[in-house]
């Protein structure tokens, strides 16, 4: 039986070691000696990963400007980045992911797509079964995150790998990304607050973000002839967004 393989007794730490480690943890916490990310000057609560959601871990970079001023220029329809700008954005995203020190293989990731919405550039990277996501502009990371690529069959049409990337607080926003079949030409996201957001679709992936705390109500994949390939209805966030204090922005 395979279950026998896991049938192992739990053993305690050697005598005195657990206590020493408990005291050390207490000291580290008390001293604030936990290693900090180089980019993190403030942090944002990510209350929940709803059913059908992903984004295994989010780390937030440090904005040099108030978030609202960055997102004010947001557009529902993205524009593609040109070759050189796309490469530069992807390299910057890779650097940001490396700086977060996540236990992921950033070097195995390659840029999948990049887009522009107003002042902000977004990059989706993928490789080794993982995603890396960056939103920001040159020198100013608004959002950096990682997630896992789920199993996908083109017969499904579309699958949502990451959403809602729930970021709340004074200037909440949401992120959605996933995989699409070759037959999918475009993806449209309808949000709970009435936005219609065009996702960027490229290389079998789709990606979108929007500057509000409203979850995606539906995500529809369209074929090139305008026919609906499939519509997803993600479950909304389970927990109520919690207020967040951001140092320097109160």
């Amino acid at each position: 039986m395979t279950s026998d393989l896991f049938n192992l007794p739990d053993l305690p730490m050697p005598l005195g070691r657990a206590e020493a480690r408990r005291l050390a943890l207490r000291r580290e916490i008390g001293a604030g000696g936990v290693p900090r990310r180089r980019l993190a000057r403030w942090k944002v609560a990510v209350p929940v990963l709803a059913a059908g959601a992903i984004a295994a871990a989010f780390a937030i970079g440090s904005p040099t400007t108030h978030t609202a001023s960055l997102t004010a220029s947001w557009t529902a329809v993205p524009t593609a980045l040109s070759g050189d700008r796309a490469v530069a954005a992807q390299q910057q995203c890779q650097s940001r992911l490396i700086a977060q020190h996540w236990p992921i293989s950033v070097s195995a990731m390659a840029g999948v797509l990049s887009e522009q919405r107003g002042e902000l550039t977004a990059v989706l990277m993928s490789g080794a079964g993982q995603y890396g996501v960056c939103i920001g502009r040159s020198g100013s990371a608004l959002f950096t995150g990682v997630g896992e690529v789920s199993t996908f069959s083109p017969a499904e049409g579309i699958v949502l790998d990451g959403s809602p990337g729930v970021l709340n607080g004074a200037d909440p926003f949401r992120v959605a990304y996933g995989q699409v079949a070759p037959s999918v030409a475009s993806v449209l996201i309808d949000t709970a607050d009435g936005r219609h957001v065009d996702a960027t679709v490229s290389g079998g992936r789709f990606f979108a973000w929007w500057p509000s705390g409203a979850d995606a109500k539906s995500i529809t994949a369209y074929a090139s002839d305008g026919g609906v390939v499939r519509t997803l209805n993600p479950a909304p966030s389970v927990l109520t967004p919690s207020p967040v204090h951001r140092p320097g922005t109160s």
Binding site: F6, A20, R21, L25, E28, G52, A56, S150
Partner: protein, 214 residues
């Protein structure tokens, strides 16, 4: 399940921990360090690494406390999720946390009781067999299976721990069980054939186990 009076519930403890209470983190460590320690051991096969990784898991969880709040009310799935990530490449993790780990003044080993030493050696042998079997699986499937089998997490808790959809948890778990079962059957057949050749008696065996010869 209600806990006895005087002991905070998992939910209360978790809420206080997320708000940054050092006492709550202290209590979380007391409550869950053994589970995380044994989980890390099963993932690495090394007791010494498991000790350091246990410290790293709690340090990392503290560091990330304001970033993710799992759907479940208990801290344990969240800690398992961190442990899963940190043990994927435990050498790198331990290098990254080396400064903090070096600050832990560990007591001189007073020597474990003989029976505990024997239990650790036995556990290392069993885990070595387990690691061999789990190497048959893709990493993502292995993570899900280990959280289900070792951590005893529910589908929803695994989904929250790894940040993946519940449907993905189910499909990965099903695939992992099937592949592992096939591996166990295959090894059992090979061992039975080997036994039959050597002694004329076929006996199924777990993966990696060879019949002891005295």
């Amino acid at each position: 399940m209600n806990l006895s009076s005087g002991e905070p519930s998992d939910e209360d403890l978790w809420r206080d921990a997320l708000e940054g209470s050092a006492d709550a983190w202290d209590a979380l460590f007391v409550r869950y360090h053994r589970a995380i320690y044994n989980f890390c051991f099963r993932r690495t096969g090394l007791w010494s690494a498991a000790e350091d990784l246990t410290s790293a898991v709690f340090l990392e969880a503290w560091r990330r406390r304001t970033q993710i709040r799992p759907q479940v009310a208990s801290a344990l799935p969240w800690l398992y999720g961190i442990a899963t990530m940190l043990t994927r490449n435990h050498h790198r993790t331990l290098r990254r946390h080396r400064d903090a780990l070096d600050r832990i003044p560990l007591p001189e080993s007073a020597g474990d009781p003989a029976e505990e030493v024997a239990a650790r050696v036995d556990a290392e042998r069993q885990v070595a067999r387990l690691r061999v079997a789990l190497r048959q699986l893709p990493r993502q499937d292995r993570d899900v299976l280990e959280l289900a089998a070792t951590g005893q997490l529910s589908h929803a808790e695994i989904a929250a721990a790894l940040g993946i959809p519940i449907g993905t948890v189910k499909s990965r778990l099903s695939r992992a069980r099937q592949r592992l079962g096939e591996h166990v059957d295959r090894v059992a057949r090979e061992d039975a054939g080997e036994n039959a050749r050597h002694s004329g008696v076929g006996r199924p065996s777990l993966p990696g186990i060879r019949p002891r010869r005295y």
